[in-house]
Symmetry: D2
Subunit: 340 residues, 4 copies
């Protein structure tokens, strides 16, 4: 039985606690939050959980084997570092840290203590994203031409971050997982519309080798909620719509064919081998449950998590570069080789 302490019981923290309560081999020992009413709520839902306002009570609790950090981004580094240094396995909400160098130091600390460090890149634990990775990895869609993601909604402004760090982080982690290659350059434009607040709309373009292009549209000011990704390939194309209740992934047997006799290229808009659409069944289990099971397995088996500190670092590296482009009117930023 792994004892878990949760720091932060705001929007996402209660989901951690609820899912852990369904697991057989883990339990929540203690929850920390700055607000008393949240702690009272945690207590009412499960009276045997301890509560505290001090994160150190969680980190230093003798029955706590693993700490979950579900607090604002600016606090991730300090809290996670303390947890790691206390020898606790640590799961940090996304993005793992506020800067690349913080992420590097955190990874180093976890490595030296030999504790599990994991980042909450939740979407990588959905059946849909796993199916997309399987489709791309198996070569069924051929060469990948483009990756286009739209993640927009009327969202709560966050005081300490912009829309890029809040929403694009999801797509960057999915791209890292599904494509398995690192971009060579990026450019990013964005605007803030509320005085004193950070960017609420942003467009990020990523260039990869071999003419692969990726593009993200993230937006806190959209009247409609959209979560749609298109992946164009030389053989087939994928539509991944996370808001579809069942058919989240659709594979379109469509593509461009080369007609050598005609000495020109045509789209095979109509063709007997083309045009069918296929929606493979995907596992609809709650991603957070799958993620937490993975966390406990990694702790028990000393395995490296799929979303380890390095995957968190790769994403933060891109967010930093995107922020740099954003601050300079969208100038292209060349990316060196990723160290990780």
């Amino acid at each position: 039985m792994i004892g878990i302490g949760v720091i932060g019981y705001g929007y996402w923290g209660p989901n951690f606690v609820r899912n852990i309560s369904e697991l057989a081999d883990a339990r929540v020992v203690i929850v920390a939050d700055l607000k008393g009413e949240r702690l009272a709520l945690a207590k009412r839902r499960n009276p045997v959980i301890e509560t505290t306002r001090d994160p150190l009570d969680v980190i230093n609790h003798p029955q706590v084997d693993a700490v979950i950090v579900a607090t604002p981004v600016a606090t991730h580094f300090d809290l996670a570092l303390q947890a790691v240094r206390a020898g606790k396995h640590t799961l940090v909400e996304k993005p793992v840290c506020a800067t690349r160098s913080q992420a590097e130091r955190l990874i180093e600390a976890a490595d030296s203590r030999n504790v599990t460090l994991m980042v909450d890149h939740t979407f990588l634990y959905t059946g849909a994203v796993r199916k997309v990775k399987e489709l791309v990895g198996s070569g069924q869609i051929g060469d990948v031409y483009y990756y286009d993601a739209v993640r927009i909604n009327l969202g709560l402004f966050q005081s300490d971050t912009n829309v890029l760090w809040d929403l694009a982080v999801h797509d960057l982690s999915i791209i890292d997982f599904v494509l398995g290659v690192q971009p060579t350059a990026l450019s990013c434009s964005g605007v803030s519309h509320v005085p004193g607040q950070r960017e609420d709309v942003a467009f990020l373009t990523l260039h990869f080798p071999a003419n692969l292009i990726a593009h993200l549209h993230v937006n806190w000011l959209s009247p409609v909620k959209l979560r749609r990704t298109l992946i164009g390939g030389s053989r087939r194309m994928i539509v991944y719509d996370d808001l579809e209740p069942h058919e989240k992934v659709r594979v379109h047997d469509k593509g461009v064919i080369v007609d050598d006799q005609e000495k020109r290229y045509q789209l095979r808009l109509v063709g007997y081998r083309t045009g069918d659409v296929w929606s493979p069944q995907v596992d609809l289990s709650e991603a957070l449950r799958t993620e937490l099971i993975h966390f406990t397995h990694c702790i028990e088996g000393r395995e490296q998590p799929i979303t380890d500190g390095r995957s968190g670092l790769r994403v933060v590296r891109l967010l930093e570069a995107a922020s740099q482009s954003l601050a300079n009117k969208g100038i292209p930023i060349e990316l060196g080789a990723a160290a990780v």
Copy 2:
């Protein structure tokens, strides 16, 4: 009765001919095309229409008062210039010309001959775009924050142009019409995936004064067809989806409110004055019919068309700048004051 000659009977030309046949005060006199089978088809549909392979037969036909140029972009300038110089009113398919200087020369020629020069920016004659302009112009949506358009499909590659000149031209003409302001800078990224062909995917960002940002995603390699524009405003937000059969325009009463007492900004996600969605009825008449009626009215009344040569020039100016950015890895291009 205005006699009309149509040059080009490929994809779009037949739509001109069909719509003119429904008008009371105009008739198609002659149609030109390079392919005999197309001319035979035109003849079978209406045996009294003359046909020819030579565009000059159209331009110089004594019963032809107005010429419609529905040919590939590269030929627009030469054909339209000859028609204008022959004293014929001229309607040119979009984009009006292949370069800014061509467009300027064509406008000059039309002005000096005092003939009507019009560009086929079809969407400006739809009830939906007119309703959007009315909503934006009346101040109902407040300050415009962003304009985001997605125009993607599995489309026929065109040998003489890229996806920007084929598809983004529509959105640039709509933006010009609806917003009524010119951008100050832009950047554009795009990629070609078919050897020997031009860009098939492109992303274009336009910066306007007062933190207004516009963004276009155009794509010939999309498995799904989308035609959706979001316009975010300080008071309300618009979703314009041209593929919706009836509710093409939806106005969402959603927005950001400033809470001075709290000294912070919040989204009014839940509020009694907010949240209703309203879809005003729009005129669903065929745009091309409305456009052709406008063309004949402008000819008869010597009025300036809504989509005159200058609106065509403004769009070509942006396409040129976008092409320049595209060719330079997406570097931002500053735009000077538009001369028109």
Copy 3:
């Protein structure tokens, strides 16, 4: 070259004329309509077509080999009978006649003159319905459990018929084609809401052998347009949505499985062999064009049309029985063996 005369140039007639003008081996000789403005419109679209107010001018025209009757239902029998008796091949808009006995007499007359009699059951010439028939006929969906069709919209009231004869006729012809079995009983409820007008909403249930049930909802007073059919089978299920632009037919690999060990029945909601959805490409050609090509082929080759007089009769037989149930508060009507 088959000479065709068209009687009726109202809503549907122009579609016949337009499609015939695209065919290589047929041409429209003459069009009849009671209204002068419609004839003027026909003339403007194609000046070489003759026009008349008298249907007999069409039927007796020496260059007319085949007559298309596109008039109100009440006139179908008289006009079609005269055409058949004049030795002309005849295509009648749906429903073929206003009563079962009329249909029987019309079939008899066509048989004795050896002319082609065809009914305009247009949907049977769509790629979607043909694909559905193929799926059902091949056994891919297993035993058919139910057939549920919704065909509703805000529709024009017709003075001489009710919603059943206007809309359900389509679904009855599709059921006849796809299932290939005749119902044993039916019941129908419906209501009229406009004084002096016939039923504008109706629900029709058809009972077939082997626990197969079909149900139609037809409605002229719906705020939304729907054209959706569900076909449940023991192995798979079909959703046929005629308003989908591309994926009109979807096959769901879902069904009920019997778990003998558990001695009870369960739905296999989650299972590795189940749950995929597949949308086969369907021919998107305009149905009326396919139908007219079939008509000319049947005339030239002396073949029996897919939608011959007998298929028209089978549909009218069911409409008559449904009307009888409707007039008697929905009492079930037993259907004898169909003579055809």
Copy 4:
């Protein structure tokens, strides 16, 4: 603080427990279920809740003021009657009882003990249904012409009931609430496709005074999940789609107009005053929470619940009549005056 005991911790019971844990003035004291693993799960989620296999432990628990019966239908009457007789306020899952006479006896028992008897007609506590009732009640849609509900999905077969008692019960309760009139007759057809199981597909038609007709399609064998209701009125029409995440209720300003000069009726398909669509914001709170707050208020204030025993009885009366029609091939059943 109201002490609550919950009998049945299967599909729905945990939702009651979870929602009660969020309330300030109520708490779950004890949970009963026949299966040990379910009780263990309840215990893991909240270790202070008592558990038992014997429903009488719940009913007779001294700290239990109110009992919730969330068990199969066949057991509702016995369990609820015992709870009521023990002087406990009682909330019974829908349908309230398996027969009309059981419901009458249960109401009588509750009345004589002066305890609150409530039925879990959950949908009446959704913001969407309340908005629909408000729209209909205020006369905004004019005279109601028809009510058409589709409630279909691939659903779990229930051993002790058919699809009518499982799904139509929801729509009958909504109709009772929204329209406020009782039907005069009904007819129902349905079929069972799984040997040994009850009907899995059913169609129910209800006739009301003044040409109002209602129709329900309920189905456990549908490949797609639909929850859509159309309400046609003389002035406006409503589409209520419970699966829409936000715009659950849409009001279409469409209707039929009478043109006296023309002496005939036309649909105003196109008209300047018509055609707008409006989606009023609805309260998206979880219905079960609203329902439980109402339950505690009724207990504390001795008020009659909106969904009292009599509303449960009215629904069971219709289910009984529908079953009678279903067993007799869909014969129409005349309904006498409802006693309640």
